[in-house]
C-alpha cells in the first residue's frame, strides 16, 4: 500500500476504524474492485504492445484526453458560477433550478445525445440558425464531443462545488466584506481558496466522467476515427468483433486515467 499513509503505531491505534464501518467498507471495496479483476483475468497480455502501437488506438486516446480536459475547463468556467448561484444566490425558484441542473445526471446519456441534436443539430433550435447563417454544423465534429461530455459531466462539478460552498463558513466572506473587499475580491481571495478542495474534487469527477462518456457522444457526435471516436467508442466497437481487444483498450484507458489522477492528487496534496 501507499507508504505515505503509514503512521506511527500509537496514532494508528487511536485512529483504528470501528468494525461497524470496516465491514461494509471492505464489502463495498470488493464489489468495486472485483469487476476490474475480472477484466485483468481475461486480459491477453501478449497483445498489449501491439495494441499500444496502433495509430487508431493512439488517436482515440489522444482525442479522449484532449476532449475530457477541454470539458473540465469549460465546466469550471461555467459550473463554478452556477454552483455559487445555487449556494449563495437568493432568488425564487432556486430549488427548481437545482433540480434542473441535475437532470443530465438522471437522463440516460443516449437521450441526452438526442436532446443535444434537437438543439444543436442541422434542424435544431440553435443548430439550424448556425447552419443557415454560417454554414456551421456541430454534430460529427470534435466540438460535438466536448459539448456532449460537458452536458453529461458538468453537473458532477456543480454538485460538488455547491456542497463545498454550503459547507464553507460564510463569516469569513462577511469579514472580508466589512474590511472593504469588493464582491469579486471576496470571491477570488476568500471564497475560492476556501472551497478549493471541493472544486478540485468536482473537476476530477467531471474529468473522469467525461473520459468514460459514451452514450451522448456516439449519439450526438457520431463515430469517426480521429475526429469523434473517443476511447469508449473504440472500446464499444472493438467489443463487436473482438472481446480481448476491447478489454485491452479498456485497460489502457483505465491505466492512463489512474496515472493522471494519482499524479495530480499527489501534486495538489503535497502543497501546504
Amino acid at each position: 500500500m501507499n507508504t505515505r499513509n503509514a503512521m506511527p503505531a500509537k496514532r494508528a491505534r487511536r485512529r483504528r476504524v470501528p468494525a461497524a464501518l470496516l465491514a461494509p467498507a471492505v464489502i463495498g471495496l470488493v464489489f468495486l474492485v472485483l469487476p476490474l479483476l475480472g477484466l485483468l483475468a481475461r486480459t491477453p497480455w501478449t497483445e498489449l504492445p501491439a495494441r499500444l502501437a496502433e495509430p487508431e488506438m493512439l488517436a482515440a486516446l489522444r482525442l479522449s484526453l484532449l476532449t475530457a480536459s477541454m470539458t473540465t475547463v469549460l465546466s469550471l468556467c461555467f459550473g463554478v458560477p452556477i454552483a455559487w448561484l445555487l449556494a449563495r444566490g437568493e432568488f425564487p425558484g432556486r430549488s427548481v433550478l437545482r433540480a434542473l441542473v441535475t437532470v443530465p445526471l438522471v437522463l440516460p446519456p443516449v437521450v441526452g445525445g438526442v436532446a443535444l441534436l434537437l438543439v444543436f443539430g442541422r434542424n435544431g433550435i440553435i443548430g439550424s440558425w448556425l447552419y443557415e447563417r454560417f454554414d456551421v454544423t456541430i454534430p460529427f465534429s470534435t466540438t460535438a464531443v466536448v459539448l456532449a461530455m460537458t452536458f453529461v459531466s458538468m453537473p458532477f462539478l456543480i454538485v460538488s462545488v455547491e456542497g463545498a460552498l454550503r459547507g464553507a463558513d460564510i463569516r469569513f466572506e462577511e469579514a472580508a466584506a466589512t474590511l472593504g473587499a469588493g464582491r469579486w475580491t471576496v470571491f477570488t481571495h476568500v471564497t475560492l481558496p476556501m472551497v478549493a478542495p471541493g472544486v478540485l474534487a468536482g473537476a476530477v469527477l467531471c474529468w473522469a466522467r467525461a473520459l468514460g462518456e459514451f452514450g451522448a457522444t456516439i449519439t450526438f457526435a457520431g463515430n469517426f476515427p480521429g475526429r469523434t471516436q473517443t476511447m469508449p467508442l473504440a472500446v464499444y466497437l472493438a467489443l463487436q468483433t473482438d472481446l480481448e481487444a476491447a478489454i485491452v483498450l479498456s485497460l489502457i484507458l483505465l491505466a492512463v486515467s489512474v496515472i493522471v489522477l494519482a499524479s495530480l492528487r499527489d501534486r495538489w496534496t503535497a502543497a501546504p
Partner: protein, 247 residues
Amino acid sequence: MRAKGILAAAAAFVSLAACGTGGAEAGSDGTVTVLAAASLTEAFTEIGSQFETEHEGVTVEFNFAASSDLAAQITEGAPADVFASADESNMDKVVAAGAAAAPDTFARNQLVIAVPAGNPEGVTGLADLAGLDFAACAEEVPCGAAAQTALQDAGLAPVTYEADVKSTLQKLLLGEVDAALVYRTDAIAAEGEVDAVDFPESAATVNAYPIAALEDAPNPDLAAEFAAYVLADDAQAILRAAGFQAP
C-alpha cells in the same frame, strides 16, 4: 411532420436503449427469450405476437441489439432460448462457442441508400453520395461490413460510422445527414419519411440471417418451436412484407 419524425426517431432510440437491459430472464413458465438483431425489430415483434396468439400461455420476450452484442452476451453465458443474427459471422461465433448447433438461414437483406422522402438531393446511386454528408454503419457490425466494401471501391467516406443500423437511420430521420446506408427493411420501416434508392454494388454484399435454438435454452421445446415457426410460411410472409428477401 418533421417534428413527428424526430419524436418517432427519439422514441425508437429510447426503446432500443431500454431493450439492452431487460428481457434476459427466462423461466419454464412458457416464456421464450429471443435475442434478435436490431434490424429484425419490426418483423420479429409481429411474428412474436402471432406466435403468442397461436400458442396459448406463451410469452415471447425479445432483446433487440447489434448481433455482435448479442453473440457476446450468449458466449458469456446470458440465458436465452433463440438467437437470430443479422450475419453469419456472429452466428459462427456462437456455434464455435458450442452455444448453438445447427443454424438455418431464414432471410436475406440488402443495403440501400436511404434519403429523405422526395429525394431532395436527387440521389440515384452510390456516386451521387460524393459531396453529401451521409451515415453508414461501422465496419465492426454486419451492416457496416457490407457497406464498407461498396464504399471503399467508390472511394467514399461517411461523416460517421454508427454502431448499429437503427442509429444510422436515426441520423437521417433527425435530418443530420443527407443520406444513410441502411438495409432495405429499415428504409421500408420508415416509409413515408425516407425513400430507398437501390444501388447495384449492394448485390455483392447481401447479408444472410441465420436463426438457431440455443443449446443452454432454459426452455428448449419452445426454443425449437419458435425457430421452426420463423422458417414457416406465416412468419416468412411477414418477413417478406418487411422487405427481407427469401433465404
